[in-house]
């Protein structure tokens, strides 16, 4: 039942006078998926979204939706929904007129116009505020209006540039859930931009991690978290511990939840790798403990362990930090 359009970005380069904002980006977004463009500020996320939306003309490369090349199609004929971080509501129009705007451009009139605007406002829970001006709404409400305006004309792809970044944490988490629900209900393709790795992990079917205008790695949240291909990915997503790899140019990544901490002298589980260490800090997190230890080399390592058990580490203890080799990943050292 996929109503979502697939998006294909092929070999896109975008050069500004002295910066290479996008450096040969190729990305396939299957129809109906929730894909997140993740990256630090300045990594090229907005530029890539702008190229897809048609606001930014690529220096070279092409963009296709459902296999149809739209590189030369102006934005007003692409029919893609777009939500901005700054909401971009028309300040002189009521909520109702804002949402009706894209429908009127498509010559929807009369009863159908009314029903569809009301439906879209219902979907975002703002039916009661239709007569207000944007300035009379809170940030969260404004972003809901922007969302309603972007989906009311039933685009097959919805593009969102850091739509939640201007909101406070509680509201952001609430809207994250609502967007996931909206994605399920509409069945359309979402291309979502964020710099927040946690947001990317919780919301996406797929993540493309950008760095300096290039896609470092693309895959499911699980793939990126469990099997990062490079040190950059490992460090960008979640917490990670790095140990020297066997070969030059590689490092070993172990996630804190895969590390165990045992008192010195206890016998190690079979096949485990281990380092001697001193426990420096123990923080109770409710769900477990966050244990920070210092290796003999001086390196700090973080482990997450159970809060109960025979060996609860205390600061100052001499200990062994250990892990099963299968839980570690060898990645290229691209730092």
């Amino acid at each position: 039942m996929s109503d979502g359009g697939s998006v294909d970005v092929r070999g896109v380069v975008k050069r500004y006078r002295d910066t290479l904002a996008l450096d040969d980006v190729t990305l396939h977004v299957p129809g109906g998926e929730f894909v997140t463009l993740l990256g630090a500020s300045g990594s090229g996320k907005s530029t890539l979204l702008g190229v897809i939306a048609g606001f930014t003309e690529p220096t070279s490369g092409s963009v296709a939706v459902d296999g149809r090349d739209i590189t030369k199609v102006p934005p007003y004929r692409r029919g893609l929904g777009m939500v901005f971080q700054h909401y971009a509501l028309f300040p002189h129009m009521t909520v109702w007129d804002n949402v009706a705007f894209p429908l009127r451009r498509r010559r929807v009139r009369g009863d159908e116009l009314r029903t569809r605007v009301e439906q879209a406002l219902e979907v975002v829970g703002l039916g009661a505020l239709a007569k207000r001006l944007p300035a009379q709404l809170s940030g969260g409400q404004q972003q809901r209006v922007a969302l309603a305006r972007a989906i009311v004309f039933r685009p097959r792809v919805l593009l969102m540039d850091e739509p939640l970044s201007a909101l406070d944490k509680r509201l952001r988490e609430q809207l994250q859930l609502e967007m996931k629900r909206l994605h399920r209900e509409l069945g359309i393709t979402f291309v979502f931009v964020t710099h927040d790795q946690e947001e990317a992990l919780t919301m996406s079917d797929r993540i493309a991690l950008l760095r300096d205008g290039r896609i470092v790695q693309a895959g499911t949240p699980e793939e990126l978290y469990e099997r990062p291909s490079s040190r950059y990915t490992a460090e960008f997503l979640g917490e990670s511990n790095l140990f020297p790899g066997r070969d030059a140019g590689t490092v070993l990544v172990v996630r804190p939840e895969h590390l165990g901490v045992l008192p010195q002298g206890e016998s190690l589980p079979q096949d485990h790798e281990a380092y001697d260490c001193d426990v420096r800090e123990v923080v109770y997190l409710g769900s477990g403990l966050r244990v920070e230890v210092e290796l003999r080399s001086g390196q700090r390592v973080v482990a997450r362990t159970a809060a109960r058990g025979p060996h609860v580490p205390k600061p100052g203890d001499s200990a062994i930090v250990h892990w099963h080799p299968e839980t570690s990943v060898v990645v290229s050292d691209d730092e």
């Binding site: 709404l137 609502e178 909206l182």
Partner: protein
């Protein structure tokens, strides 16, 4: 998204209305009040009184004005000229201001300077320069083929001179208003299916209206009081009321009649502004509280 979810967060607070509370800081406006009393209220009162007392008590001065079609013509001509100046100034100033918002900082500076430099030159010098440029043997007619086009001692001459003087007054408020408009709204509109021209017309232009109206008001009211420019560039048919007042004051020494003319100009202007404020919210145009 549920209705509860939408109402869980408080709406933006309502805009506070009413007069600001006076405190000791309010006393700081006293010098300004004194200044206004001295240079505005008192002379105006004096003019008003004189129009009814000079040369003798009564409404003679006003009757004289309304009895002669010549004077009424001057009044009408004043408002027509000011209206035309406003129209032409806005037609030139709007694209100019818009261009300034698009230009790079360097070119914006150049454009700003180009508007302001004439502003810093003496009005008299500028007006005489126009005489040299526009006369039959002037630069313009030298360049144009055929017999000289009359550009002096007529309405086009007056318009050219006055528009140039008023242009900064139109550009500065419009530019200020346009600079505050978020151009990303145009992008959003295009993303929603609007052609660029439509987006400009439906999104940008309405947001620029307060700036345009402020400019129009400023230019129109200022234009009503011109007299040097129409006197030097206009012909006998282009006399404006300011010129008439000067004539009566320094030429024929009819101070009472000159005062009556000033009062009439003031009253008609005030009446027009009131009429306008019924049509549009003046306080909003002038950037007052909403």
């Amino acid at each position: 998204m549920t209705a509860e979810a939408a109402t869980a967060e408080p709406a933006a607070p309502a805009v506070r209305r009413g007069l600001p509370r006076l405190d000791r800081w309010g006393l700081l406006v006293l010098p300004l009040v004194g200044f206004l009393l001295a240079v505005l209220v008192w002379p105006l009162t004096a003019v008003l009184l004189r129009s009814f007392t000079d040369p003798e008590p009564g409404v003679e001065n006003y009757l004289a004005f309304f009895h002669s079609p010549v004077y009424l013509d001057v009044l009408v001509n004043t408002f027509v000229t000011a209206g035309l100046v406003t129209l032409v100034t806005l037609l030139l100033g709007f694209p100019y201001s818009y261009l300034m918002t698009l230009a790079s900082p360097f070119w914006r500076g150049v454009l700003m300077l180009a508007v302001l430099v004439p502003f810093w030159t003496s009005l008299l010098v500028r007006t005489f320069a126009w005489v040299l440029i526009l006369r039959d043997t002037g630069v313009v007619n030298e360049l144009l083929p055929g017999p000289p086009v009359p550009l002096l001692r007529n309405l086009p001459g007056v318009l050219i001179g006055m528009v140039q003087v008023m242009l900064p007054f139109a550009v500065l408020p419009m530019y200020a208003a346009m600079r505050g408009i978020d151009r990303r709204l145009l992008q959003a509109a295009e993303g929603l299916g609007a052609r660029p021209a439509f987006a400009f017309w439906r999104i940008y232009a309405p947001l620029a209206v307060p700036g345009v109206a402020a400019s129009a008001l400023l230019v129109f009211v200022s234009s009503l009081g011109f007299y040097v420019t129409p006197a030097l560039l206009g012909g006998p048919k282009n006399i404006m009321i300011g010129e008439l007042i000067v004539q009566q004051l320094s030429g024929v020494l009819r101070w009472g009649f000159a005062s009556a003319l000033a009062v009439i100009l003031l009253v008609v202007t005030g009446g027009l502004l009131m009429l306008m404020s019924r049509l549009v919210d003046l306080r909003r145009l002038l950037g007052g509280a909403r």
